[in-house]
Amino acid sequence: MSGVERIAAAFEAARSDGRGAALMPYLMSAYPDLDTSREIAQAYVDGGADLIELGIPFSDPLADGSVIHAAGVAALNAGAHVYESLQVARTVSDQVPVVVMCYANLVLARGLERFADMLVEVGASGLIVPDLPLEEAPAALAACDQRGLALVPLVAPATPDERLHQIGARARGFLYTVSVTGTTGERAVNDGALPGVLARARAHTDVPVAVGFGISTPEQAAAAMQAGADGVIIGSRLVRAVGEVAPADAPAQARALVEAFSGALVVPGRDS
């Protein structure tokens, strides 16, 4: 199966498993250290993750809020490199699809083709480049398409219809809808505009629509599902949790949280 097909199958499987939306926890690779991050990846799977988003540490992550920024910097200060960080995907990539989240300069430094080859090598299914908008994406899209990898684009609440249409048509794997205007980070309230944002995204694409940025409680995840999301991405909440305990306790901590989020996505009245 290609990466694109694996992602589609994972969304399907979540549904037939009785969940209203697929759960996609974000993992900062090499944080708090390489070995622990591998164990956390496995803990995510054991806790019920349907897909995993694997963040590669970057020195200047412009789309990230303080929690993910700090985790990335900590990983770099501890000596993280792109090659080793990508290898973390191998731990789980035969169990769930792994979508790598990586800033543009890390991809360009290696060269698009070489970077895409590395993704294939480690078993990744897709790639998200948060600072590669539509205009800059054609070459990366071609490199991913050639290898059956999904280049997942982002859209925002303020993305105009015309642009949403163009992005939706080029979306592979799923469309990543940013739920709030801002950087990644936990937020107290869910945006009441979410159903509208999701409906608009869905009208412009054939792939599943996932929502991320700001979702930090199981209640918010359930609300996103009810608002129509096919997938829910949990980032800063998990990264913070992992940083709050000793590395030895981080996997159990991560697993418990992922279980709670996963439970919140079970469709009411459909217990298995």
């Binding site: 970057f58 020195s59 200047d60 412009l62 789309a63 809020g65 920024h69 910097v73 770099l76 490199h81 792109v82 090659y83 800033y103 543009a104 300069n105 890390l106 991809v107 360009l108 430094a109 290696r110 948060p130 600072d131 590669l132 908008p133 539509l134 205009e135 800059e136 684009p153 982002l154 859209v155 925002a156 303020a158 993305t159 105009p160 642009r163 992005i167 940013v178 205007t181 801002g182 950087t183």
Partner: protein, 394 residues
């Protein structure tokens, strides 16, 4: 006029930003094009530049410095502008544009503090809220400018990430913009960032070169052999270069920070070193990075040149062979700073001192025009400390 601006200079430039910012960049580009064609807007900007900033700035033949250099050195006196540097040309233009776009809040980053002061000044004048991001190391070494910004009503937000200098301040400003894009305009302080910023900043700074070209023709009766400017992100340099680009015999010299020496890695000279290009702060250009593509920290005694990136148009001018880029060490800049003060009674900014140092170190020119991009009052404490002259306790 066209309905879009160029987004690339050869392979350089582009818009490597989160999707959240794309509508704002499109809006900014359209507003800029409209304003460029609006005679009333242009008249207001010109009148402010003349009566408020004090333009045109003089072109001054620095005779005693020329003697040491061995060739005539004309200084383009941007240090005499209101707020003490070229930064006000850009800040005022962008603040007027923001007002026209109906934005109520301005954010800016600053390294040396000159762009922060210029933005705070423009915001005071135009009644806009102003938030300035500044690395905490720069807050330490450019203290007078922090006090000026606060006096002008701006909020200065210290940025503690990384090396606590300009790169992190730009990143923090971009994150603020991502979050508050609806009512906020980001006045970027140099010819960097995603399109259309490099073009907007260039157009607002080209007045430096337009004036200088006319002035040197009048005073010297000829074009200069070399036009020299320091390069942090590249705004004073692109501003003075552009009107001379078609004068094939005029050499364009950009001077970056060699810091402790280019060979030590502790510098701010990505154009000079000319390694692999990459993406920083929204555009593809000459940057300092490691093998993986992680951005490296720059090092310079001058906060305004302490930046690992560069404006994309400079990278293109370099590749085409139209401009060349060189680097001057901290020590050379300090020496030029002290010499200019003694010989000319002018205290230059440490940034501008790099350009002066280059003309001194490279004789064999018929005439040089050097952009004196700003004045050095802000640098006194740091320089006195480095020169081993005791200043007042601080």
């Amino acid at each position: 006029m066209s309905t879009t601006l160029p987004h690339r200079f050869g392979p350089y430039g582009g818009q490597y930003v989160p999707e959240l910012l794309m509508p704002a960049l499109t809006e900014l580009e359209a507003a800029w094009i409209e304003a460029s064609e609006d005679a009333a807007f242009q008249a207001r900007l010109t009148s402010l530049l003349n009566d408020y900033v004090g333009r045109p700035s003089p072109l001054y033949l620095a005779e005693r410095l020329s003697e040491v250099a061995g060739h005539p050195v004309y200084l383009k006196r941007e240090d005499l502008n209101h707020t003490g540097a070229h930064k006000i040309n850009n800040a005022l233009g962008q603040a007027l544009l923001a007002k026209r776009m109906g934005k109520t809040r301005i954010i800016a980053e600053t390294g040396a503090g000159q762009h922060g002061v210029a933005s705070a000044t423009a915001c005071a004048l135009l009644d806009l809220e102003c938030v300035v991001y500044m690395g905490t190391e720069d807050i330490r070494r450019q203290r007078p400018n922090v006090q000026r910004m606060e006096l002008l009503g701006a909020t200065v937000v210290g940025v503690d990430a990384g090396a606590r200098t300009l790169k992190e301040a730009v990143s923090a400003a971009i994150r603020d913009w991502v979050t508050n894009v609806a009512d906020t305009h980001y006045i970027i302080g140099s010819a960097v960032g995603p399109a259309p910023y490099p073009v907007i900043v260039r157009e607002l700074q080209r007045i430096i070169g337009e004036e200088a070209r006319a002035q040197v023709l009048e005073k010297a009766g000829r074009l200069p052999e070399r036009v020299i400017a320091c390069v942090g992100g590249g705004s004073n340099s692109i501003g003075i270069f552009i009107p001379f680009v078609d004068d094939a015999d005029v050499q364009l010299i950009g001077v970056e920070a060699a810091g402790e020496g280019v060979e030590t890695g502790r510098h701010g000279a990505p154009l000079t070193v000319a390694g692999r290009a990459g993406v920083l702060h929204g555009s593809y250009s000459a940057i300092m990075q490691d093998e993986d593509g992680q951005i490296l920290e720059a090092h310079s005694i001058s906060a305004g040149l302490d930046y690992p990136g560069s404006g994309p148009e400079h990278a293109w001018l370099r590749d085409q062979g139209r401009a060349s880029y060189h680097a001057i060490t901290d020590q050379q800049a300090l020496d030029a700073f002290a010499l200019t003060a003694r010989l000319e009674g002018i205290i230059p900014a440490l940034e501008s001192s790099h350009a002066i140092a280059w003309t001194l170190a490279n004789p064999d020119s018929a005439i040089d025009v050097v952009c004196l991009s700003g004045r050095g009052d802000k640098d006194l404490a740091e320089v006195l400390d480095k020169l081993g002259i005791a200043g007042p306790a601080s």
